[in-house]
Symmetry: C2
């Protein structure tokens, strides 16, 4: 059902949110839900929900609503959670530690299998059951383990060098936490995370609120 027609990136960016809310509904043992109820929970209009979910076939039935588990599974399949992604973290600082310890990645299909750094004090330490290796060992590691995604939390001055190395090693996905927007051509898919963008939006909303 999925993957047959091109879904816009705007819709794709909303899917993880559906996935989270559907996962919560399953935990609450809710079997089906109308677009109206889902709309109230998610703070998205019901018509937006119907439009989004129609993009990939539409799982709702008039008068019945959505089958929660079916929709959850289908959204997960579209996102690839059933496929599973093997990830490594490059940079064992605070952000690298936070990511390695984040509890919700694994049940979304992302498994952390390696952590790398260059700081002798960090090499050999264990973070959430993963031993920190030296970055020089990355080549060997990639020869012996399939790696889908490299998560970059290195200092900004090192990011271009590390990103090029990762590209050379044939890793196809980069989740980039450094301030530099990486552009590595068509071979590598990059998702740049800029935490400050979200904080600036909050600042804007706050300023608007105060001027009301």
């Amino acid at each position: 059902m999925s993957g047959e027609k091109k879904i816009s990136i705007a819709v794709i960016r909303r899917l993880p949110r559906y996935f989270r809310y559907l996962s919560d509904l399953i935990k609450l043992d809710i079997k089906r839900i109308s677009s109206k109820e889902l709309s109230q929970r998610m703070d998205i209009t019901a018509s937006q929900i119907r439009q989004d979910l129609n993009c990939f076939g539409g799982f709702g039935q008039q008068g019945y609503g959505y089958n929660v588990e079916l929709l959850y599974e289908e959204v997960g399949k579209i996102l690839g959670t059933d496929k599973g992604f093997k990830c490594i973290i490059v940079g064992a600082g605070n952000m690298g530690n936070a990511i390695a310890n984040y509890e919700n990645f694994k049940n979304r299909g992302f498994e952390m299998i390696g952590i790398f750094d260059v700081d002798p004090k960090k090499i050999g330490t264990v973070i959430n059951n993963i031993k920190v290796l030296h970055l020089d060992d990355l080549d060997d590691f990639v020869k012996n383990h399939h790696v889908d995604i490299a998560i970059l939390t290195v200092p900004n001055k090192h990011v271009v060098g590390v990103a090029n190395k990762i590209k050379e090693l044939g890793i196809k996905g980069i989740w980039n936490f450094t301030p530099t927007d990486l552009k590595l051509g068509d071979e590598v898919v990059v998702e740049n995370v800029h935490l400050s963008d979200s904080l600036m939006v909050l600042g804007y909303k706050l300023k608007e609120k105060e001027s009301e």
Copy 2:
């Protein structure tokens, strides 16, 4: 110029990105830029750029392009970077540490002025020149310091209690890193950050790429 007409949230969410790129241009000593050049750097269409920047008056001149510094200042003003926001971090774990040490918040108008936790091992330690205080001291702290934004990096089970406390203390903005989408009514502006959403989008793009 700003604040006079309502700008859509979709445009607002793109502004921090303009702000970042304009800041880079200033560092490169570039005085003016066409929408076409900016488009190539930012990977946004030139027509999108013109449309976005027209929302708040339009700073471009036909045949001249945009005055980089003027545009940077104006985007900053719209976002409130000139106003400045005082922030506290609640939760001195890895994510709290990462945020406290993040170098780019201050020059975007966000100053960290306090860090709170409940773990006796953390109380009294110093993170980026800020002493970690006990959460019980938050009331006193807020009496003596103006706080615009509380950044929540507490364990998920504590988030609702902490958020309600923050609301009671009259803090109007919450930047929430916990998995729980907070809804605190109209009094408090909340920006929920879900890191896994971005990772899931990366996973989707990777899966699509592999099936090409």
